[in-house]
């Protein structure tokens, strides 16, 4: 058994994480706030949380679910519906006379509510579908995400969900910046706060994975029949993992809403789920650290580093061939294919941050013994 003693690798990891936070905070105070870096960091933090929540399900419990976009949608809408200031509702719900909900909640309770509503839906959906095996479960959850999207866009529910129209004017990450009386920003927090929210949530998931529950979940993943024979209640554990994952996907959806400043059900397609799945795979199925790293890399590549490929570039008088709109995506998809085919383990395999500082050696010895 692994000892509970805090060893040096854990300490080192904590230090690295702390440094990242300090780095983000300092960068935010010094660099211009319009830099693309912050866009990437905010979206990256959001995707990191969602990817980790998906990893909990796919990597640690072995439940192949493709419903993540649906739960994010529920979270994003719950958050938006609960937090739009009453004064702005008339504008936002322009076709529905201001809508049904006539109050606004503070951000943190709304975030938690977003998670809870998503978890509640997950619980209800999980009752019938979690009995399904592997691919069938994937298809059923994918189907549920599509159904949820159609329901949220239904005109008859417009007073609640605004139908097909955009929800906006709710508090965003930028509202976390501290301002002085003149409306000038004194302390920038719009990137640090999403890092904190994602950090706390991922921390809770890590604690869950390292608890007895987490070990039971792994047992379910390795062999369901054997796990059941060992006295693990399959239905109960699957349901727990599904709900927890959806809870955090809901919060992730709310964070996505805060990042985008507007939200529309149309965007939460299966393509979004596939993106997140790709992140999980690129990071390494079963590695939390991998999912986090991969999120930032994925977002940076797709949104920032490769953008120059979409425009004509001149080196001296030479016009670089092939570069025109859409080339970025071609290069990006080829990179993804290379990773999937040749680096099957992903960035981290199943390793975590402390393993990089030498914990893995001890573990291996334990396994052999």
């Amino acid at each position: 058994m692994r000892t509970k003693k805090i060893n040096s690798s854990t300490l080192w990891s904590a230090l690295v994480i702390l440094l990242v936070y300090v780095g983000v905070f300092i960068a935010e105070q010094t660099l211009p706030s319009t830099s693309m870096l912050f866009t990437v960091l905010k979206k990256g933090a959001t995707y990191a949380l969602v990817a980790v929540s998906m990893n909990l399900l796919n990597g640690f419990t072995g439940l192949f679910s493709l419903g993540q976009a649906g739960f994010m949608l529920i979270g994003a809408y719950t958050y938006a519906i609960l937090t739009i200031p009453v004064a702005d509702r008339m504008n936002v719900y322009q076709y529905y006379a201001g809508g049904l909900v006539q109050f606004a909640m503070p951000v943190v309770p709304a975030l938690i509510a977003a998670g809870l509503v998503a978890a509640l839906f997950a619980f209800l959906i999980g009752l019938p579908v979690l009995r399904l095996k592997s691919d069938y479960l994937a298809i059923a959850t994918l189907g549920f995400a599509e159904i949820i999207r159609a329901i949220f866009q239904w005109n008859k529910l417009g007073a609640l969900t605004n139908g097909s129209n955009i929800l906006r004017e709710f508090p965003t990450f930028n509202d976390f910046n501290l301002m002085n009386a003149q409306g000038e920003v004194t302390v920038y927090l719009s990137t640090t706060v999403p890092f904190l929210i994602a950090g706390v949530c991922i921390g809770i998931i890590v604690l869950l994975i390292n608890s007895t529950y987490g070990r039971s979940l792994r047992a379910v993943k390795d062999d369901e029949v054997a796990a059941e024979a060992m006295g693990i209640n399959l239905a109960h554990h699957k349901q727990l993992s599904f709900c927890v994952s959806s809870f955090f996907a809901g919060i992730g959806g709310a964070m996505l809403a805060m990042y985008q400043s507007t939200i529309q059900a149309k965007a939460f397609t299966s393509a979004m789920t596939y993106e997140i799945l790709l992140i999980v795979v690129i990071g390494g199925i079963g590695s939390i650290t991998g999912s986090c790293l991969a999120s930032f890399l994925f977002v940076a590549c797709s949104e920032w580093w490769l953008r120059f490929l979409d425009q004509k570039q001149m080196i001296g008088d030479f016009e670089v061939p092939l570069l025109r709109n859409g080339f970025r995506l071609v290069v990006f998809s080829i990179i993804i294919m290379i990773v999937v085919l040749f680096f099957r383990q992903g960035i981290m395999g199943t390793k975590e941050l402390p393993d990089l500082f030498g914990r893995r050696k001890n573990l291996k010895r334990e396994v052999k013994a």
Binding site: T39, Y95, A150, Q260, T262, Q313, F342
Partner: protein, 385 residues
């Protein structure tokens, strides 16, 4: 093998964009348009207007210095989830003013990013009222949906004599659903009946919706949706020998629609911003340019029929230049202030902004497809009354 691949990939990512030193100072204008997705075709045509304007007037004198105007592109992919990062990219490139977008949803989604960065934006053909409502940085040079919806409803009820109208909008699209809503309001106020339905994104099969319209005895089929769907609707309506008129909004003003409708026996009426022949100098100039530039020709759909959105893109470019001149600096905030007082006589009419930031427009052009020649026939200039 793996190591070489890894090194190659890292190199690929590191490849920096090479900046070329310019002699003249540069002022950047952001182009926030879809070049892919459902509205890609429309976005490209709108960009053509700006690109053409940029070749006509490549420099601008701000204060006493002459600046080279550089268009900076960011593809918002016609999707509200891609729009914020495309907007952030433009802000990151430190543009002085943004033009766009085609499609209201993406404009609404990109708007907060521009607002936070203090960059003004000029909406070219985004007709949903929400774009400019409640903010001070988004302007618009085209007419609005409540106006367009009313114009179309009037035309359908009074000129076409339709008693029942069938509205079909794409589910989850602000523009479609908004315009259908205003059309319904106006048409019902006139005493007609409206059946409104929505189709899910990605639909190709519209036969059943067309059957529905026939079943309800509709006199007009109004489908304010993206170009990607319009051609399908036109083609399938032709197959079913429908006996009602098809009616479209400004999105239908595309030569793709013309191409689909040519050789059929359909009645297709649309409302739009500009009619070819409105400004001869512009018409001949842009046609010559299209014919000389193969890529532009492809983006225009393979022929030189001028889309109204191109004319609007052209006007938007000059509005931006006027604002830059008036501001006397390339600072985005100064441009934003200057925009309120800009007055420009464009090819599509006079552009002056009101207190919301919308240009006062009280006329729309109604065009009809001539299905034998495959060209637009001018029908009327229509106001609200």
């Amino acid at each position: 093998m793996k190591k070489i691949l890894a090194v190659l990939m890292v190199l690929c990512l590191m490849l920096p964009a090479f900046a070329v030193a310019e002699d003249m100072p540069v002022v950047k204008i952001g182009v926030f348009e879809p070049a892919s997705g459902d509205n890609g075709a429309g976005g490209k045509q709108e960009m053509l207007g700006m690109q053409y304007a940029n070749t006509v007037t490549p420099t601008v004198t701000i204060g006493d210095t002459e600046y080279k105007v550089e268009l900076v592109y960011a593809d918002n992919g016609s999707a509200t989830d891609k729009a914020p990062s495309a907007a952030a990219e433009l802000v990151n490139q430190q543009v002085s003013v943004v033009l766009g977008s085609y499609g209201s949803g993406v404009s609404i989604a990109g708007s907060p990013i521009f607002e936070q960065a203090g960059v003004p934006a000029i909406g070219v053909t985004c007709t949903n009222p929400q774009v400019t409502l409640g903010n001070n940085h988004y302007f618009r040079i085209c007419f609005l949906d409540p106006f367009q919806g009313t114009v179309l409803a009037n035309y359908a009820y009074k000129e076409l004599g339709a008693q029942v109208a069938y509205c079909l909008a794409e589910l989850g699209n602000d523009y479609d659903v908004g315009l259908a809503y205003y059309f319904q309001q106006a048409f019902e106020a006139l005493g007609g009946m409206v059946i409104s339905e929505t189709f899910p994104t990605g639909t190709s099969d519209f036969t059943s919706y067309i059957n529905n319209a026939t079943g309800y005895g509709a006199g007009v089929f109004f489908a304010p949706c993206s170009i990607a769907y319009t051609t399908l609707i036109v083609d399938q309506a032709a197959d079913q020998n429908v006996n009602f008129a098809l009616m479209g909004s400004d999105t239908w003003d595309s030569n793709k629609v013309l191409e689909a409708a040519t050789g059929t026996n359909l009645d297709i009426m649309i409302s739009t911003f500009y009619q070819e022949g409105g400004n001869v100098e512009f018409d001949t100039g842009i046609k010559a340019w299209l014919n000389s530039d193969a890529e532009a020709m492809t983006n225009n759909g393979g022929n030189d029929v001028i889309a109204a959105v191109s004319a609007m893109g052209y006007d938007a470019y000059y509005v931006a230049l006027e604002a830059l001149k008036a501001a006397g600096s390339t600072d985005a905030k100064a441009v934003n202030e200057a925009l309120w007082n800009v007055s420009h006589e464009g090819v599509s009419g006079k552009i002056v902004f009101n207190e919301i930031g919308d240009a006062d427009r009280d006329t729309a052009y109604i065009k009809k497809i001539n299905t034998t020649t495959g060209a637009w026939d001018f029908v009327a200039v229509q106001g609200v009354n």
